[in-house]
């Protein structure tokens, strides 16, 4: 009898605080597996966000720092420039990356900082209780748009991969999803590429992951098809998965 999956060494053997069915845990595992496979755990510095992943620095088995809301790419820039041999990853939610941290996001891409960004797009502010995010879909209910997002009042969702692809400094931008097994496999490949790019000095690489937030989408956490269906039927229409930029 052979065990096929060991817990990645880059993830500490502790239970994580995420809600049942939340996509953050899946992406944490994938990042850790990639760190193991590329053998970069000892030189990785992980920048945790403000958002539900605020404790991520206590889950990863590497050097880590928890930064102020939205400032991940600025912190990552500083670390990478001061310690160019380290591998620096900034892990961020959509409120963090696309709202309060939009300037840091755009300028770090424009400067082609040689950093890796893992962007969890769950179309909501998870941690603070379900407020509208820049990525909230038209018609989607949130605590700050209780009748659904109305473009006349709230504007339109921001597509980060498309936006960043227009910048010359962006080297790699791919959007994936973790709502099914095929998506998880693709997400891991994308994360691996985003880290490899940094190792090879290629530059600014971002993976946007469409991710479930059953709690703040108001769907059942014990019936996974409700949240996965929302990604499958609604989110991918507005945020199509795919490679948006890949400069060798």
């Amino acid at each position: 009898m052979q065990l096929l999956n060991e817990r990645p060494k880059s993830l500490l053997d502790v239970s994580m605080h995420y809600c049942p069915g939340c996509g953050h845990g899946i992406v944490h595992r994938l990042v850790a597996e990639v760190m193991d496979e590329l053998n970069i755990r000892e030189k990785t510095i992980f920048v945790a966000p403000v958002g539900c992943a605020v404790f991520a620095d206590t889950y990863f088995n590497c050097d880590a720092i928890q930064g102020p809301h939205g400032r991940g790419p600025a912190i990552a820039t500083g670390i990478k420039r001061a310690k160019p041999d380290s591998i620096v990853v900034s892990y961020q939610g959509d409120g963090d990356l696309a709202s309060i941290g939009m300037a840091e996001t755009v300028h770090s891409a424009a400067r082609n900082e040689n950093i890796t960004i893992i962007f969890i797009n769950n179309a909501i502010y998870g941690m603070t209780g379900g407020q509208m995010a820049p990525t909230t879909l038209i018609g989607q209910k949130a605590t700050t748009c209780i009748y659904g997002r109305d473009p006349k009042v709230n504007g339109y969702p921001i597509r980060i991969c498309e936006l960043l692809s227009s910048l010359e400094g962006t080297r790699y931008a791919e959007r994936t999803t973790v709502h099914n097994v095929a998506g998880v496999v693709k997400t891991k490949n994308a994360i691996k590429k985003a880290f490899q790019n940094q190792v090879n000095g290629i530059g600014f690489s971002i993976v946007e992951v469409l991710s479930m937030c059953p709690t703040n989408w108001g769907v059942r956490a014990d019936n996974p098809s409700e949240a996965t269906k929302y990604i499958n039927d609604q989110m991918v229409k507005i945020f199509p998965p795919g490679v948006y930029k890949d400069v060798k």
């Binding site: 009898m1 052979q2 994580m16």
Partner: protein, 70 residues
């Protein structure tokens, strides 16, 4: 012959989201009727049917599933 496998669910880590139940191609996981120490009805292996395809482990957000090939 397809591979034969078995899985183990860590009941203290499982939060009962049943993503694994929903993706298993052979439907060999189910919701347990026993309450776990952490307060959930964890997923549990029906005892047969696993083909060691790893789908459940790949989607599990809590690293709660070990897959063995027999």
């Amino acid at each position: 012959m397809p591979k034969q496998g078995k899985i183990e669910v860590n009941e203290e880590r499982c939060k009962g989201c049943y993503l694994c139940v929903s993706v298993c191609p052979n439907k060999c996981l189910e919701k347990s009727d026993k309450f776990s120490k952490t307060g959930y009805y964890p997923a549990s292996y029906k005892g047969s049917g696993c083909i060691a395809c790893m789908s459940c482990a790949k989607i599990c957000p809590d690293l709660a599933i070990k897959v063995y090939e027999l």
